[in-house]
């Protein structure tokens, strides 16, 4: 029962593998995949209240990990629903695509439960390698090979970041003589005056910074977002970030006050992420690239919540990343629907979307306003609570810089909303979306508003979850 979600995912992978051996129609594959996704989600809910340790204490099942598993499964299900027709993937490899998707999610679920360095590494690699393959699986219609470029970039940067991480882990083991996270961090906390300990910790963090796309490990983001198919980008932009934040909190929650050097480094990373992401996003023409840069900026905000080193700060970061994933999914839902044959969507392609598909235009507007942090949406509450907890810790300068970033960010979000609502469609086709996609977008809208207006319950729950690992 404790391992049920992971087993379900493995089973799902097997079923898709069997499908990939024969020839099935696109619709069947799609329906099977959505059904399996729903089954995984149900499995995570069923094992929600489980606790325990597995595999010689390398694998911990607690409320914290189960919350993240449910979130990951939910986000995956939503991606499966709105990306269901896989417009950007060649029909012949669709079952394989689903196979890698499930394997990647399996890796992420294992990641949030891992409490031992090696199992963290294995889980991280499992999730990453599946995505490395998913990126170049985009069909090369029009002979644009940029998905290959994206795939190579993603792979090379990813392997480099993993190399850093592995190197850091070896230092940790050398310094503490253990690979158990609890033992490692306890012993490490006594020696933060030594440069070796600081370097070890920062190198391990680098691996997660890469997943979360925090400066200076963000270089892959724009090209991969642009090169990967819309569905893949929707997945990369949302689901792995949940897992990365989960593990980042697990690691950082164990650093104690002595690690001031690390705190300073994190601060610099957070601020640079915000400025770099927002300033670069200002000049983008491709919606996915823009969202990629905005994701870098948002990662900076999450880091700001994490580096308060308080339960409330962690809970706020958790709330923020959930909100971010929901807002991001809403935007990608629109991108996937607007894209006719799986091509990239330029900002100009959204012209007059209001007339072509009111619901999609509304979803996009709410998603972008929420990302920009305008009340009453979840983006504002998340931002507000993170700023509050950061100022409580006395980071006045950091808070001011973050506030300035909000003002910068609004410009590029607004320019997309402007195109959507205020320009004429100029002979562009009307958008049709399936009933299931419409229902999903309404669901996402409701979540964005409800989380924004009544954050109390969500934050309380996040605090409870975070407390289980402290």
């Amino acid at each position: 029962m404790q391992f049920l979600p992971e087993l379900t995912l493995l089973g799902a992978g097997l079923i898709v593998f069997i499908i990939s051996l024969g020839k099935t129609s696109a619709d069947t594959t799609r329906n099977v995949a959505i059904g399996l996704g729903a089954a995984v989600f149900v499995a995570t809910l069923l094992s929600f209240c489980q606790t325990g340790k597995l595999f010689f204490d390398a694998y911990q099942v607690d409320l914290y990990s189960q919350v993240f598993k449910a979130l990951i499964a939910g986000a995956m299900l939503i991606v499966l629903i709105f990306g269901g027709s896989l417009k950007g993937i060649d029909n012949s490899v669709r079952p394989e695509y689903y196979l890698f998707l499930f394997m990647s999610v399996l890796g992420l679920m294992m990641l949030v439960s891992s409490v031992e360095l090696l199992s963290i590494f294995v889980a991280l690699e499992l999730s990453s390698f599946a995505v490395y393959i998913m990126v170049p699986m985009r069909d090369d219609r029009g002979n644009l090979k940029f998905q290959m470029e994206a795939g190579i970039k993603y792979l090379l940067f990813g392997v480099t970041a993993t190399g850093f991480m592995l190197f850091g882990m070896s230092y940790m083991y050398g310094l503490t003589g253990s690979t158990q996270l609890s033992v490692v961090v306890e012993k490490l906390s006594l020696m933060y005056s030594q440069p070796a300990a600081v370097i070890a910790m920062m190198m391990v963090l680098a691996g997660f910074f890469y997943k979360l796309a925090i400066f200076p490990f963000h270089f892959w983001v724009p090209d991969v977002y642009e090169g990967a198919s819309n569905e893949t980008t929707a997945f990369i932009a949302s689901v792995p970030k949940l897992a990365a934040v989960a593990l980042l909190i697990r690691l950082v929650s164990l650093i104690n006050g002595e690690g001031q050097v690390i705190v300073n480094v994190l601060m610099v990373c957070a601020v640079l992420s915000m400025f770099y992401g927002n300033l670069s996003a200002l000049v983008q023409k491709d919606v996915k690239r823009m969202l990629g840069f905005s994701g870098i900026a948002h990662a900076g905000f999450v880091l700001l919540g994490i580096l308060t080193f308080q339960i409330t700060g962690f809970a706020n970061a958790l709330y923020y990343i959930i909100g971010y994933v929901v807002m991001n999914l809403a935007c990608f839902l629109v991108i996937c629907t607007v894209s006719q044959k799986g091509e990239n969507v330029m900002i100009d392609d959204l012209s007059g979307l209001y007339k072509r598909s009111p619901l999609m235009a509304f979803t996009l507007a709410v998603g972008l306003f929420a990302l920009a942090g305008i009340p009453p949406f979840v983006g504002f509450m998340g931002k507000f609570m993170i700023l509050t907890s950061a100022l409580k810790e006395g980071y006045l300068l950091l808070v001011i810089l973050a506030a300035i970033n909000t003002a910068i960010a609004i410009f590029y979000y607004l320019s997309v909303v402007r195109v959507t609502f205020c320009s004429d469609p100029e002979e562009r086709v009307t958008i049709s979306s399936s009933l299931l996609t419409n229902a999903t977008s309404v669901f996402l809208l409701l979540v964005i508003v409800i989380m924004g207006v009544t954050p109390q319950r969500f934050v309380d729950f996040a605090s409870t979850a975070v407390q289980t690992i402290m």
Binding site: P375, V399, A407, I410, F411, L414, F421, C422, P455
Partner: protein, 508 residues
């Protein structure tokens, strides 16, 4: 919490006013029928207006406490409350908002031809947000509504606006949002300093250090001065006004601009009295600059909406002048002038909208000489124009007189500097009026114009009623605000008395 007063006769009246339009907007989402949308929006806004009348009836003019208070915990972990109430400073603005909204719906009856349903939803959401801003006593609640208002207003300008609507709406949004980000930091700072409370009355008259006060004041100033808009932050206003549809212009002029001056009265003065003292002279001279600049620029305009927009800059300069002379006449005049400006400028925008609906041009030259063919229209226009430059027996006269009286009490050179503004107002309004009513020998053919229909007369009549009511008998309005203003100024002077006493003690 002793500043709060709960009226048992009307337990949920303020929440009803806030949420009724929102509920109306949500229901309207489901019905796609243009005529229904018009009648529905009119019904909801009219009902809100009627429901707001008991506020004035039951308002206790003998206390400066917040009345009709409702208090519910909203976000416990951060101690954020849903707490609303009104006092003498906000009641007139609340009434102005509720009463002007049905008229905005009426003014959009035929003006808005496309996407009527969405337009009415935006109007209703605007009403909710605007009322909430004036009633909120929790800083986060205030900020949420203050920012949330940008979205429907942006859509009103951006979708239903004129040819340069995209530029205007973006400029409006960016200016306002950029101005208020530092306000957010200030709010959080105040929250932490005040023992984790966002309750606004608790933040007032506290002993913050001088540096903190100056910084807080600057954060407030940036947010509110842009909203007012004060010279030199006014450049978004003409663009937004010109491009917005009539109802949008009316809301912008009558209600949105008042939020800036309301913010100064509600937050800047009570929370940072020391900084107010230090920085008031600069703001006063900025106000003078705004008055003169607005006047001269309005004099040069060929576009009627731009003319009124620049005149707004001048009029709002008078309001900030009145606020920062910090004496009873000045502040009371300023609050009254906020109301007056809402009535007069709103009505002028409606008048220009009516001529625009007929000629599809805002150019002054294409509207010359309509007096012969639209006698009722020019009668209305004349009274509103007279009111705009403060002709005696109209509402603005009372407000401007009080403000100038207060300014003379404060400093004579300052008052003398403001006088040309009043003269300029007469010059540009009479110039416009002369051209519209009579024009010259080169008038275009206006004989095809129809005079106002019944709906338009009904739209304008309430404005005219208030122009004369306030102009001839302003006492009931001043009674409403007097105690709160007196309390504000007493506290302000007491605070400085204390500060002086402490310095004396240290020096001797």
């Amino acid at each position: 919490m002793d500043q709060l007063l709960i009226n048992p006769d009307y337990p949920y009246i303020l929440s009803t006013l806030i949420f009724l339009p929102l509920a109306g907007a949500l229901l309207l989402l489901f019905i796609k029928n243009d005529d229904f949308a018009r009648y529905w929006a009119l019904g909801i806004t009219a009902l809100t207006a009627i429901l707001s009348i008991p506020l004035v009836m039951a308002f206790d003019t003998s206390t400066s406490k917040y009345q009709f208070v409702e208090q519910v915990s909203w976000i416990q972990s951060l101690n954020i409350q849903y707490v609303i109430g009104i006092d003498g400073i906000s009641i007139l603005l609340v009434m102005l908002t509720t009463l002007i909204m049905p008229l905005c719906v009426l003014a959009s009856w035929t003006y808005i031809k496309t996407r009527v349903q969405a337009f009415m939803i935006c109007l209703l959401i605007m009403e909710t947000a605007m009322l909430g801003v004036f009633m909120a006593l929790d800083f986060v609640l205030f900020y949420v509504l203050w920012e949330a208002m940008l979205i429907p207003m942006y859509l009103l300008i951006g979708i239903w606006g004129g040819p340069r609507r995209i530029y205007a709406s973006i400029k409006f949004f960016l200016y306002t949002l950029a101005g208020s980000v530092m306000l957010l930091v200030a709010i959080i700072w105040l929250y932490i300093f005040n023992g984790y409370s966002f309750f606004i009355p608790d933040m007032m008259w506290q002993n913050y250090s001088s540096t903190a006060q100056i910084l807080l004041f600057l954060a407030f100033f940036l947010a509110f001065a842009i909203k007012v808009p004060m010279f030199p932050f006014h450049t978004w206003l003409p663009a937004a006004h010109v491009e917005a549809p009539t109802a949008g212009s009316v809301i912008l002029a009558s209600v949105l601009l008042k939020m800036g001056t309301y913010g100064f009265l509600r937050f800047a003065i009570p929370i940072t009295p020391e900084a107010t003292m230090t920085l008031a002279p600069y703001i006063l001279w900025l106000s003078i600059a705004g008055i003169i600049y607005g006047g001269f620029t309005a004099l040069a305009q060929h576009d009627m909406k731009k003319l009124i927009a620049y005149s707004s800059v001048g009029h709002m300069g008078f309001v900030t002048l009145g606020i920062f002379v910090l004496n009873t006449a000045g502040v009371e005049g300023a609050i009254l002038q906020m109301l007056n400006h809402g009535i007069t400028t709103g009505a002028l925008f409606l008048c220009i909208g009516m001529i625009y609906e007929r000629t599809h041009s805002r150019e002054l030259s294409s509207a010359t000489g309509v007096g012969k063919y639209m006698p009722i229209y020019v009668t209305f226009l004349t009274f509103f124009s007279l009111s705009s430059f403060g002709f005696p027996a109209t509402n603005s006269f009372v407000g401007e007189f009080l403000i100038l009286a207060g300014t003379f009490e404060y400093s004579i050179p300052l008052a003398l500097a403001a006088i040309p503004g009043a003269v300029l107002a007469a010059a540009y309004m009479l110039r416009m009026l002369q051209k519209i009513v009579w024009g010259g020998t080169d008038n275009p053919d206006q004989s095809w114009l129809n005079d106002l229909n019944l709906r338009e007369i009904i739209t304008l009549s309430p404005f005219l009623f208030f122009v004369f009511w306030i102009g001839l008998g302003a006492q009931p309005f001043i009674d409403l605000i007097h105690v709160s203003v007196a309390n504000l100024l007493d506290n302000y002077h007491a605070f400085h008395g204390q500060a002086m006493a402490v310095t004396d003690l240290i020096l001797h």
